[in-house]
């Protein structure tokens, strides 16, 4: 594994990306690794742009913002268009085809699934799209262990929502295991 692994989770406000970033970062803390999590968003709590960066490393992390991603998750077309150029050549791109219809560049390792539609159909609400896609990403990249993610979710969301989010997580893992390129 690379010494330092940079992840950007991107989309629009209200999609729960900052929470997803926190959950991923906390999973890394559980594994006693170094981590920074930063975010950038508009002043509104809904709509507008939103992104969360997570850097996981075994060494001291100097600059906390992801600049050259090992992995990019894009849940909106706009986010995909803007951030795709900063994905490394070998980087992994994960897109939500519910909203991302065009790719400006052909990324080598691209994974496409309609995460929002799947969350709506299988889990009854698009609200779990963040955890569904995050679990998918964790399974594909192996950046943290599935059990760390599970524990992190339990520590990060309100008790009433743990079960729903764990269900979304399991579904994300399944989708990744069964994914055919």
């Amino acid at each position: 594994m690379a010494k330092s692994y940079e992840i950007r989770l991107s989309g629009s406000g209200g999609q729960g990306l900052i929470l997803a970033g926190i959950i991923l970062a906390r999973a890394a803390v559980i594994e006693k690794r170094r981590v920074t999590q930063t975010q950038s968003y508009g002043p509104e709590s809904r709509g507008g742009y939103s992104r969360a960066d997570v850097i996981i490393s075994d060494d001291e992390i100097y600059f906390p913002e992801a600049t050259n991603f090992n992995c990019l998750l894009a849940l909106t077309q706009e986010a995909c268009d803007v951030y795709l150029y900063d994905l490394r050549d070998t980087g992994i791109l994960i897109i939500d085809t519910t909203f991302v219809k065009n790719l400006a560049l052909a990324a080598e390792n691209t994974y496409e699934l309609p995460f929002t539609d799947i969350a709506q159909e299988k889990l009854g609400s698009p609200i779990t799209t963040n955890i569904l896609s995050l679990a998918f990403m964790v399974q594909i990249t192996g950046i943290v262990k599935p059990e760390s993610l599970k524990q992190s979710i339990a520590e990060s969301v309100k008790p009433a929502f743990v079960e729903l989010n764990h269900k979304a997580m399991e579904l994300g893992f399944e989708l990744a295991k069964n994914y055919k390129k």
Partner: protein, 411 residues
């Protein structure tokens, strides 16, 4: 040659908090937060640092990107018998923490640019009356409402010169979540020790960033409390000139019945129009900072031993600089970083040494040129060509690559 990391710890001796009448015992107030490795936000670290330093009074007004400090303290202070109050505006907030401090509280407020501007008159009052308090300013893009959720380092000069009249400042500037915790404690300690309003400047990114942090055990946290007078009330001088500019401080309700005024005052605190007493007061405010520079200044010297190029910057931009230095050194370029943790008083001596030892200084900052003026002030014998600015004010950070490009240009 600069000493590597001259970070100075607080004096070794832990001053045991004295519980006086009407005051809550500090032991009860300190954070009960778990001391294990946890993911923590910068603003959260400020809140827990405040609690661990013994802050028992917070008055504030919500403002992005500092609001988390108020939110956490609104939950935590009542548990410890401390006071949280949301005031009607930032002016009222700085006034309330100053009033509470005079009644014996360790007090703090947190705000951002617009609120910091509103507080300036009150900060001047806390300074002239030598009342301990801490103002945390999580900086955002300005001027005016600007970009509330975007980072900028535009308040460096305001933190020094914001209030009218000359009033020497103590301003601290962390670059990580852990350091936000540490410097909050230090800010509270310095406020108590030097009887002044200490300012903690955070970058928006630092305030909102999360990192893994293990808070130290309380036994390892050094807390400084103000010196209380031991003389009988009729001997008490609120600004005792015989105490090396660090004079004991009584609280309201303890029998001392002293007077506090924002007017220029004599050593008892009574207003004066005599020019001799006015200059004595002004000198006192200056000297208590100037004579204690060594205690106040903290700098980090990173890979400066053999550096031909130095980067001078603070906060989040120093993190970009460190990443750039790692990349440049991989290519054999000798470059280092000098980072002030205390931004005011300015580390003149350390900067002079740096200037003697390097050929070029790069000053990246998220403003249109503030820190660089201080370097210029100390750069009499260097041509302007050796002082390279990198400035950005569009809400985006200066990245490691931006700095690396500049390093390569000048190397």
């Amino acid at each position: 040659m600069l000493k590597k990391n001259t970070k100075k710890a607080e004096p070794k001796k832990t001053t045991k908090p004295k519980a006086t009448k009407n005051e809550t015992k500090l032991d009860e107030l300190q954070s009960t937060r778990e001391r294990k490795n946890v993911l923590m936000q910068g603003n959260e670290a400020v809140a827990y640092g405040a609690l661990d330093a013994g802050v028992n009074f917070f008055a504030g007004y919500p403002i992005t990107p500092s609001t988390e400090v108020a939110e956490i303290l609104s939950a935590e202070l009542p548990k410890r018998g401390g006071v949280f109050v949301q005031m009607e505006d930032e002016i009222a907030s700085i006034c309330a923490i100053t009033g509470a401090s005079l009644a014996g509280a360790k007090s703090l407020t947190a705000t951002s640019g617009p609120g910091f501007s509103l507080m300036q008159e009150g900060i001047g009052f806390a300074k002239i009356t030598e009342t301990p308090c801490v103002v945390v300013n999580v900086q955002r893009m300005g001027p005016s409402t600007g970009m509330p959720t975007s980072p900028a380092q535009g308040d460096i000069m305001q933190a020094k010169w914001g209030s009218h009249g000359d009033s020497p400042s103590i301003v601290l500037y962390p670059d990580s979540v852990k350091e936000s915790y540490e410097l909050t404690i230090r800010a509270v300690n310095l406020a108590e020790k030097y009887r002044t309003c200490v300012i903690l400047l955070l970058d928006e990114v630092i305030g909102h960033m999360r990192e893994a942090v293990r808070l130290p055990d309380m036994a390892n946290v050094r807390v400084i409390n103000r010196i209380k007078p031991t003389v009988p009330p009729h001997w008490y001088k609120h600004y005792d000139e015989n105490q090396k500019y660090l004079s004991p401080l009584a609280s309201y309700g303890e029998g001392y019945r002293f007077h506090v005024t924002g007017l220029t005052h004599d050593s008892h605190g009574f207003p004066t129009n005599k020019s001799s007493e006015a200059s004595e007061m002004m000198e006192r405010l200056r000297k208590k900072i100037d004579y204690n520079i060594r205690d106040l200044v903290q700098i980090e010297s990173h890979q400066m031993e053999d550096a031909k190029i130095a980067i001078f910057t603070a906060g989040i931009t120093a993190r970009a600089a460190k990443a750039a230095i790692a990349m440049a050194r991989a290519e054999g370029i000798k470059v280092g970083l000098l980072r002030p943790l205390t931004i005011w008083p300015f580390p003149d001596d350390a900067v002079r040494k740096m200037l003697r030892n390097v050929e070029t200084v790069i000053v990246p900052e998220l403003n249109q040129g503030q820190l660089i003026h201080e370097i210029q002030r100390l750069t009499k014998d260097k041509s302007d060509g050796n002082l390279i600015p990198i400035q950005r004010v569009n809400g985006q950070l200066i990245t490691p690559n931006d700095i690396l490009r500049k390093i390569k240009e000048v190397s």
